[in-house]
């Protein structure tokens, strides 16, 4: 039987720094997290991104080992909100990130030319489908 859970993750820039890592919250998460660890044998599928607020680059980064100090994150996706406003990006083919050892994970970071308040929402499915 296929396992699937859809998470809506939300984060905001700190309005102070031009770069940083989003703290992610969700209705299923108690508190917040700086990254999402992908369970062994499962996949994270990022189906949708919504970016709003001040101009910002939103970067998705993946690591094979979240236990490294610090982990080595590699960029896998970047979206640019060029001016104040909002964009909504839905994908017929999602970004797929695999949990091979159970130590993989991804995070979402921002890059701005000047600090501003921006928001990001991701629709992420954790699934064990083929």
């Amino acid at each position: 039987m296929m396992v699937s859970e859809l998470l809506t993750l939300r984060g905001a820039t700190d309005n102070t720094n031009t770069t940083g890592v989003f703290s992610l919250t969700s209705d299923l998460i108690y508190g917040s997290v700086q990254y999402i660890q992908i369970p062994k044998g499962m996949k994270a599928k990022i189906w949708c991104k919504r970016i709003s607020g001040a101009a910002v680059e939103v970067i998705i980064e993946y690591t094979h080992n979240i236990l490294e100090t610090p982990p080595t994150f590699t960029e896998v996706d970047r979206e640019v909100l060029t001016s104040t406003g909002e964009i909504s990006l839905e994908k017929r083919r999602p970004i797929v990130l695999r949990g091979i050892t159970g130590l993989e994970g991804f995070r979402v970071s921002w890059n701005q030319s000047t600090p501003g308040l921006s928001y990001v929402e991701l629709e992420v499915e954790l699934t064990d489908d083929e």
Binding site: M1, V3, S4, E5, L7, S26, D27, L28, I29, Y30, G31, V33, Y35, I36, Q37, I38, P39, K40, M42, I66, G102, G105, L126, D128
Partner: protein
């Protein structure tokens, strides 16, 4: 022809349910006479019964405290199976527990937990780790690489036995949890025809087959089966040993209490 199970995965009335115990190579064959909760099979139970402050184990060998009611912390696991309390139930600490007086009933329970990635396994009875690899070389379960399911588990609750449900969260997120049950409260009997029992266990008669994850035959379970049903089940014979099977089933049926 009607299916044995309906769209919920529950056994239809006047169909057969076989419950197999690997440790003994025996099975029970029940005829579902009726489903007491027909049309009302869903229970939105709520969060896992984990009170704030409960100490849980972690995948790294330490412990962690539950930060709020029903929250399963990151990289944590429930080391000893839990039951599901419900006020007013026969046993308010375990809503699926019944005594021998309820021997004409079994609960067929499909447990679904949110988030779906959570690992689940079962201890029958509570506290007894059941799954093994290479005989008893390696115990399996939620704290291992396999020996669990994610999100959903199906079982049949035998009276007089407390089942322990274990859950684990192998992510870095502290997660709110939610449990839903799809269940059938079956009113059952055991067919008195040894040929029919053989027909079910040799897969010739349509039925729904559930294997209890019992590889360690704990005395508690054995005593419960004898107390409730009068027997430990019907031995499963190969198809070419029908006569031998029927002869033994005939004798066992004299001991059956329902």
């Amino acid at each position: 022809m009607d299916k044995v199970v309906d769209s919920l995965g529950l056994v239809q009335e006047n169909s057969f349910l076989a419950v197999y115990i690997p440790a003994t190579n025996r099975a029970f064959v029940f005829r579902v006479k009726s489903r007491a909760n027909k049309g009302f099979e869903r229970i939105a139970y709520g969060p896992l019964p984990l009170p704030s402050g409960t100490t849980l184990a972690t995948f790294t060998g330490g412990t962690v405290s539950v930060p709020a009611d029903g929250v399963l912390p990151a990289m944590s696991l429930i080391p000893v199976g839990i039951t599901f309390p419900y006020t007013g139930a026969y046993d308010s600490t375990d809503m699926w527990y019944l005594s021998e007086d309820y021997r004409d009933r079994v609960f067929h329970v499909i447990t679904r937990v949110t988030p779906r990635w959570l690992r689940i396994d079962l201890q029958i009875p509570t506290g007894v780790v059941q799954l093994r690899f290479q005989r008893d070389k390696l115990p399996l379960g939620i704290e291992r690489d396999w020996g669990f399911s994610r999100g959903v588990i199906e079982t049949v609750h035998i009276p007089e036995v407390h089942y322990g449900y274990r859950f684990a969260n192998d992510t870095n997120m502290n997660v709110y949890t939610f449990v839903e049950f799809i269940y059938g409260e079956y009113i059952i009997d055991i067919p008195k025809d040894p040929y029919l029992i053989f027909g079910v266990l040799s897969k010739k008669v349509p039925h729904h087959f559930i294997t209890l994850p019992v590889n360690v035959y704990d005395a508690t379970l054995r005593e419960a089966l004898v107390k409730v049903y009068g027997i430990e089940g019907f031995p499963v014979y190969p198809i070419h040993e029908r006569d031998k099977a029927v002869k033994e089933y005939t004798e066992l049926l004299k001991e059956v209490k329902i």
